[in-house]
Amino acid sequence: MIADRNHRLPPQPSAAPGTPSAWHRFAEQWKKNWFKFSHNRLSVIGLVIVLLVILLAIFAPWVTPYPAHAGAYVDYDNASLSPSALHWLGTDIFGRDILTRIIFSFRGALVMAIVVLALSVPPGVILGLLAGYFKGSWVDTTIMRLTDVFLAMPPLILALAVASVLEPNLMNAMIAVTLMWWPWYTRLVYGMASSLRNEYFVIAAELTGTSKFHILFREILPNCLSPVFTKMALDVGWVILIGASLSFVGLGEQPPTPALGQMVADGAKYMPDLWWMTIFPALAIVLIIFGFNLTGDGVRDMLETRMG
């Protein structure tokens, strides 16, 4: 009766007789994934927020009321207006529309998240894979001690330090965060790979005489991917948060290009009179991170839960 719990797994839809088409299996898989993802209604809300943010960012020049306000634009006649029908979220001290600037700043935030994850995940995963598979050898020791060093520093502090010694701009902020990010993936994959190497299917492949490449990338890697994707989905929010923190202290995107953290910091100087200058960008940060966190949870449900 050991398998009482296992028995509570749903039955897998049995393949149709003959050869089911690849497309059919693919569609079937995604139907199931969507079912698991949408199981929690909050994940769907998160996904809606995320899609909205992405679409707004892409089409910012066409959907914002005052696209020109995204740059160096001055209109002292309309400066420091509180929210109104013309300027939904008010204007800043230069007369620029806050809503427009918030929507444009989504671009930087998303670019940062994409670039950081695209640059840090592949090397992180591969290093973890190598260290885990060659556990106990010098490969493991070298990689993991290096990882330890990076992990022994609060990531924000190190990112701040790196960003500060470089020229302050978005590119350098991305470099700084990327440098902090890979070790988390290395550690994640290391743990999985070092236990997977003792699984009999890996041993079986070794005994058959397959290449190391096959074992690493065909046998072990596919079994590590779900947690990696889950972590990536959850990390988007964190990268945006760190990016906002950097730009809050002036180490991210430089004015006049808008960035969320920078807008919060600028507005804070004029509190409480021009409260809209701070509150709305702050809420935008919360909204975007909230959306990505919920989506990330949904991805986790989709990839990692067995139903029951």
Binding site: S14, T19, E199, Y200, A204, A205, E206, G209, T210
Partner: protein, 366 residues
């Protein structure tokens, strides 16, 4: 004279696990084991957990490098890990693992799993023939072709083990190591798998080295049986002899512990030996006969001297002081082992060039 396919001679495998004040600590998992396996037979290796039977199998298959001793496959040395063995030799020896859940990659389809050994060991197969070969392999283990597209988590434990067997069959091996292939399964499924294995053995002229803790299963599949205890073989005999005249106190203890379902079986069980104690840690093997701490027949020499492995009747060897060590009676073990009753079907596989394969280094170390 049956052909010897596998010869194991004074094999030792120690694991270094640390050190204390007196020096390095070793787990003496396999501690001087010798036996031979004839082509076409099923050699059963029985023991409790911690007896070293799995380590022995894993050393033979090449997961570990032996600490000392020899493993010969058709006279050819296997004394290195799998990574350094020629590909042609790897092809000859295959293994079916105990845990069907862990032995198949959950992220691959059955087809992908079966294609790995085919691509490696049967290079003569063209791309177009691969699929047909996979289907044939599945048919050999009575699975329908549509299993190709299934993934391991979606099929039952028995079916997984069938796929495991198909994978072992893929390179056309001569010798298959069966490491408790059914211990994780229910008896009704076990019966199905075992009968299939017996069928395949006759059909493909396979030799089995069958490792299990289940004596009653052994009775029905093995031609010869060896019992292991703390890294050493304590009794070795043909299957029928083994069950009719068990000699070693440990064998008797094991037999008397087996739960049975018929009165006939009940009569066969040695009644006098009640099981006591637990198998000691292989780090601290008792001096003398390693079984003396649990033995009911213990006498003085048992705590001091390790008994020799004596042939008490033809082909029946026992390691116990009850059978007096008349020095003249101690044969060269290997000599005895060669004089076995004939195995069922002698089969001679074509010898392949042992050095044609790749030689790879294995960096990971246990």
């Amino acid at each position: 004279m049956p052909q010897t396919i596998l010869e194991i001679d004074q094999l030792k495998k120690y694991f270094h696990i640390g050190k204390n004040k007196r020096g390095a600590i070793f787990v003496r998992a396999v501690d001087g084991v010798s036996f031979t396996v004839d082509a076409g037979e099923t050699f059963g290796l029985v023991g409790e957990s911690g007896s070293g039977k799995s380590t022995l199998a894993y050393t033979v298959i090449g997961m570990y490098k032996p600490t000392a001793g020899q493993i010969l496959y058709r006279g050819q040395s296997l004394g290195v890990e799998a990574g350094r063995r020629p590909l042609a030799l790897k092809k000859e020896l295959q293994i079916v693992f105990q845990d069907p859940g862990s032995s198949l990659n959950p992220r691959q389809t059955i087809r992908q799993i079966l294609e790995v050994p085919l691509r490696l060991h049967r290079r003569e197969l063209k791309k177009s023939e691969l699929e047909q070969t996979v289907i044939e392999l599945l048919q050999k283990v009575e699975l329908s072709p549509d299993y190709m597209y299934k993934s391991p988590p979606s099929i039952g434990g028995g079916e997984k083990q069938m796929v495991g067997i198909a994978r072992a069959l893929a390179p056309n091996p001569s010798l298959i190591l069966l490491d408790e292939p059914t211990s994780a399964l229910d008896v009704s499924v076990q019966a199905k798998i075992i009968s299939k294995l017996i069928e395949l053995q006759a059909e493909l002229n396979l030799t089995y080295l069958f490792i299990t803790h289940d004596l009653s299963l052994m009775r029905n599949v093995a031609t010869r049986i060896a019992i292991m205890y703390l890294g050493k073989i304590c009794e070795l005999a043909s299957a029928s002899e083994f069950f009719q005249h068990p000699m070693h106190p440990y064998t008797q203890m094991l037999l008397s512990s087996v739960p049975v379902v018929t009165a006939e079986e009940e009569r066969m069980k040695p009644k006098k030996v009640l099981s006591t104690g637990e198998i000691p840690s292989p780090v601290n093997i008792p001096p003398g006969c390693s079984f003396h701490s649990r033995c009911s027949e213990k006498s003085r020499p048992c705590t001091v001297d390790d008994p020799g492995f004596i042939e008490v009747s033809p082909g029946h060897l026992v390691r116990c002081h009850q059978f007096p060590t008349d020095t003249s009676a101690v044969f060269d073990e290997r000599e005895i082992l060669h004089r076995q009753e004939p195995g069922p079907v002698p089969f001679i596989a074509p010898l392949v060039d042992p050095f044609s394969g790749l030689v790879e280094g294995r960096t990971s170390d246990e």
